[in-house]
């Protein structure tokens, strides 16, 4: 998975988002051990201190936890990951709706278009 960092927002908050995404999508499965800060920083081509800061934030939320000597792990709590998934989905949908409204669509139109396109995709 590629690290996609834009240049106009704080790096550490973007790393948090992408780590959440990776955990939710199973790139880092439930209960698995995360690579070291140094390896992650190198992979994302960011400063190790920035990576450290992002991981500490994720620890605060409980999505990952650290064992003093053996490293950092993804939570084993399924409901926690479900909650995170829903939150991310909500954010995406809100953003999408805002854009559609800016384009001048009404809510009903948006929903019916969504149904149509989703049907086409199923085929």
């Amino acid at each position: 998975m590629h690290w996609d960092l834009s240049s106009d927002r704080p790096i550490y908050s973007q790393i948090i988002e992408q780590m959440e995404l990776r955990i939710c999508s199973g790139v880092y499965p439930l209960g698995s051990k995360l690579p070291s800060v140094r390896d992650l920083a190198q992979e994302a081509a960011v400063n190790p201190n920035t990576m450290q800061r992002a991981l500490s934030k994720l620890e605060e939320t409980g999505l990952i936890y650290s064992l003093r000597t053996s490293g950092r792990f993804v939570t084993e709590d399924v409901s926690m990951i479900e909650m995170t998934k829903k939150r991310i989905a909500r954010e995406h949908i809100q953003e999408f709706l805002n854009r559609m409204i800016r384009l001048g669509f009404q809510q009903e139109d948006i929903i019916s278009m969504l149904m149509d396109i989703s049907k086409e995709l199923k085929k």
Partner: protein, 232 residues
């Protein structure tokens, strides 16, 4: 914890030209710092003062508590803007040279990095392109286990792919007790790996902040802010 590098009222003039004016800086250990400024802003003067290649007109610099001199030369690994290596030498000769000069030089590390970049240690410098020469120099400098790395324009002459490799090299050599100061104006290429940013303008420090502070406060990349601060 004490700072690795401290400047107090550092001033350097060349006749009537002011290169640096009352620079006050404190830089801790374990940081990657970008020294950013347009041409002729005083970046190279600052780095040369840190290396005892110039002496301050007024004020002082302390590196690990010492004034630049013999002690600090053992602590500081310096990549100058222009090469000082002899053209006729082979890379392996220069490695021997560095081994003699610096106690903290690690030749295995150097050979390992040369191998990764596909540079033949038996090649002479004069047969190499400008970019390859720059890579060799950076490899030599990063192969020292120093406290402070001073890199003056390390990515100027190399292509974007090699630039990525160089940044990776800097990151993979990063140690918690060492600090790297990189002077450049190719900001967008390096801002992701920086902790702190120092903007220097006409010999004075106009801003010292972390990259994320800049992005949070201005909603702009360091590169965009630089273009704003230094608009011609």
């Amino acid at each position: 914890m004490s700072n690795l590098l401290e400047c107090k009222n550092l001033t350097k003039t060349f006749g009537s030209t002011i290169a640096l004016m009352n620079v006050n800086l404190e830089i801790g250990r374990g940081r990657i710092v970008g020294l950013l400024g347009p041409n002729a802003s005083g970046k190279t003067t600052f780095i040369k003062l840190c290396n005892d290649l110039l002496t301050p007109t007024r004020g002082e610099i302390l590196i690990g508590g010492h004034k630049p001199g013999i002690t600090t030369k053992g602590m500081v690994s310096y990549l100058p803007e222009r090469t000082y290596l002899n053209d006729w030498m082979r890379v392996s000769d220069i490695i021997e040279f560095f081994k003699d000069f610096y106690k903290n030089f690690n030749p295995e590390k150097a050979y390992d990095m040369l191998g990764k970049l596909g540079i033949n240690p038996k090649d002479r410098l004069k047969t190499m392109s400008k970019g390859t020469k720059e890579k060799v120099q950076l490899i030599l400098v990063m192969s020292r286990e120093a406290d402070l790395y001073l890199l003056d324009e390390p990515i100027g002459g190399v292509d974007p792919a090699a630039r990525d490799y160089i940044l990776e090299t800097i990151l993979s050599n990063y140690r918690e007790d060492a600090t790297v100061i990189i002077s450049t104006h190719l900001i967008s290429d390096i801002e992701k790996i920086l902790d702190d940013v120092i903007f220097i303008k006409e010999g004075q420090v106009v801003l010292q902040k972390t990259v994320d502070e800049i992005r949070e406060e201005s909603g702009k990349s360091v590169d965009a802010l630089f273009r704003e601060v230094f608009r011609c």
